[in-house]
């Protein structure tokens, strides 16, 4: 269904003739993102939250804090302690996944935390703790990038001061071509997958991971493409925040209907 939708979108757009010749399994051009939807402030109980869909993938992020540091040994006297939990729900994959955090979950939690720590003004909150929960509801490739994108939205929603928003986007190599925002299928069959997260205004890379093989030229080509993808997603992030703020406007004063 997604494929069809993507193809239709393609047909409608006035795309170049060169892009017409080669299509990816889901009908996208090499430098095209999957359809992306971002939403801010979706949970009442969390201080900040965000929800997003990228292609088939769905992720929910909640932020709590700053609060007292609970396992006391984790406390930093000069800065905020950030706790990040990336977790894939048991129902997020094709086959039921054991709910315990895996090695992969733990690693991703760490790299995501570090990427976000670069943006958060941690020195403003000594002896405090911030908890970020990234729950993958449905996995379809590129979840760590979407997780970062959403986590920074949730942090902004919680009012945590940050140097910049953080945006993640992947690029890689599939059937000999450098492509943007790999889907799960492309990730599995492709030659390389590279996750990148940046602070778009400050122009800084905060996450760079790669799996597979790329030549030096391909590497830089993929990196540039991923950064370009990040910049496009950043625009959507800002829009999502603005949309949340506009939400209130839709509520017309109740008296107008009452009269």
């Amino acid at each position: 269904m997604n494929t069809v939708a993507a193809k239709v979108q393609q047909g409608g757009g006035a795309e170049g003739q060169a892009a017409e010749e080669w299509r990816r399994p889901d009908g996208r051009a090499a430098d095209e993102l999957r359809p992306l939807r971002l939403e801010v402030g979706v949970l009442e109980n969390a201080e900040g939250s965000a929800y997003g869909e990228q292609g088939r993938g769905k992720i929910l992020v909640a932020v709590y804090g700053p609060t007292e540091v609970h396992p006391r040994h984790m406390e930093h006297v000069d800065r905020l302690t950030m706790l990040c939990r990336y977790h894939m729900a048991p129902f997020s994959t094709e086959e039921r996944r054991r709910p315990q955090p895996t090695r992969r979950d733990i690693e991703l939690s760490k790299v995501i935390r570090e990427a976000l720590e670069a943006a958060v003004l941690t020195e403003r909150f000594p002896r405090s703790m911030l908890k970020i929960f990234i729950e993958v509801l449905e996995a379809a490739g590129g979840t760590r990038c979407l997780g970062i994108t959403l986590a920074s939205l949730a942090l902004a929603n919680a009012g945590i001061p940050m140097r910049d928003l953080v945006v993640g986007c992947a690029a890689g190599k599939y059937k000999g071509r450098i492509v943007l925002d790999l889907s799960e299928e492309e990730d599995k069959e492709g030659e390389a997958d590279m996750a990148v997260a940046i602070m778009p205004s400050l122009n800084r890379i905060v996450l760079l991971q790669m799996d597979g093989e790329l030549t030096r030229e391909e590497f830089f080509q993929a990196l540039d493409l991923a950064i370009e993808g990040c910049r496009r997603i950043h625009k959507m992030q800002v829009e999502a925040i603005k949309r949340k703020l506009q939400e209130g406007l839709a509520l017309t004063p109740p008296t107008e209907e009452k009269e």
């Binding site: 201080e47 007292e68 003004l121 405090s128 902004a156 929603n157 001061p161 940050m162 925040i241 008296t255």
Partner: protein, 265 residues
């Protein structure tokens, strides 16, 4: 007094947005500087008036400041005092020594207190005595100025009224420039309102209808905080809802007599 009423236009900013700062004084809570450039650290409205630049937050909880007068709900009794919910990230402590001996408090009471001390490791310490708080810290001049601004607001236990919460980031909008909005609401409802700087408000009335009108106005202010002409709309709404005297279309959940503790987030 005349000049500050016309600030430069307010710009909606998100973290990382570059700000065209020309003012000498900047609010370091919301603006950060790097390589001679200024960036916003929060989602809010950037404004610059005379020589001060700051971002009015649109997201986030209440951040305590020493000298703030807050409304709190007592949630627990601990070794040295009362634990008080003040709508901040962490509950505050009201030491028994800072409670005047005449007031008897218990869990569930609503109080008006002053932030006597705030430290990142200590948390918030409240004071309910009119005179001197026992914090071991000298009173600053800042607090003195604050005192005069909040004159007439007595610290102590709230004995009657309804507690309504507003998002702390929207509080400046509720007060309005120079208190124009809040005084219009007070006048409209003909009732006193205690405005805690933490976003908890107490409407001193027993009338459910007035409470409902008040709550509706709060929700509208929250929703439309970033728009212009809000004060005029609220005043209009206030006079309209007060003149149409019919209890029937009191939409939504009608308030039960839960007293002042029945606050919604």
């Amino acid at each position: 007094m005349s000049q500050p009423s016309t600030p430069s236009e307010r710009i909606l900013v998100v973290p990382g947005d570059q700000l065209p700062v020309t003012a000498a004084k900047i609010d370091h809570e919301t603006i950060f500087r790097e390589n001679e450039q200024y960036y916003s650290t929060v989602v809010g409205l950037f404004e610059q008036r005379q020589n001060r630049a700051n971002v009015v937050r649109l997201f986030g909880p209440y951040t305590p400041k020493v000298g703030d007068v807050v409304v709190g709900i007592i949630i627990d009794e601990v070794l040295l005092g009362w634990k008080v919910d003040i709508n901040a990230a962490r509950p505050a402590l009201l030491p028994f020594t800072n409670v005047p001996s005449r007031s008897k408090l218990s869990i569930g009471d609503v109080i008006v207190a002053e932030v006597a001390d705030y430290g990142v490791s200590r948390g918030v310490v409240l004071n309910m005595r009119e005179k001197r708080a026992r914090t071991g810290r000298r009173k600053t001049r800042r607090r003195q100025t604050k005192k005069t601004r909040t004159k007439g607001r007595r610290l102590g236990r709230v004995t009657r009224g309804f507690l309504v919460a507003i998002q702390p980031s929207k509080l400046p909008r509720l007060i309005g420039r120079g208190g124009s909005m809040i005084s219009a609401i007070k006048r409209g409802l003909n009732r006193d309102i205690i405005v805690g700087e933490n976003g908890y408000l107490v409407l001193r009335t027993e009338s459910l209808r007035k409470r409902q009108i008040f709550e509706r106005i709060i929700r509208i202010i929250e929703a439309q905080a970033h728009t212009t002409g809000l004060t005029e709309r609220v005043i209009k709404l206030l006079s309209e809802s007060l003149s149409s005297f019919s209890l029937e279309h009191s939409s939504g959940e009608s308030a039960t007599g839960r007293g002042s503790g029945g606050a919604s987030r």
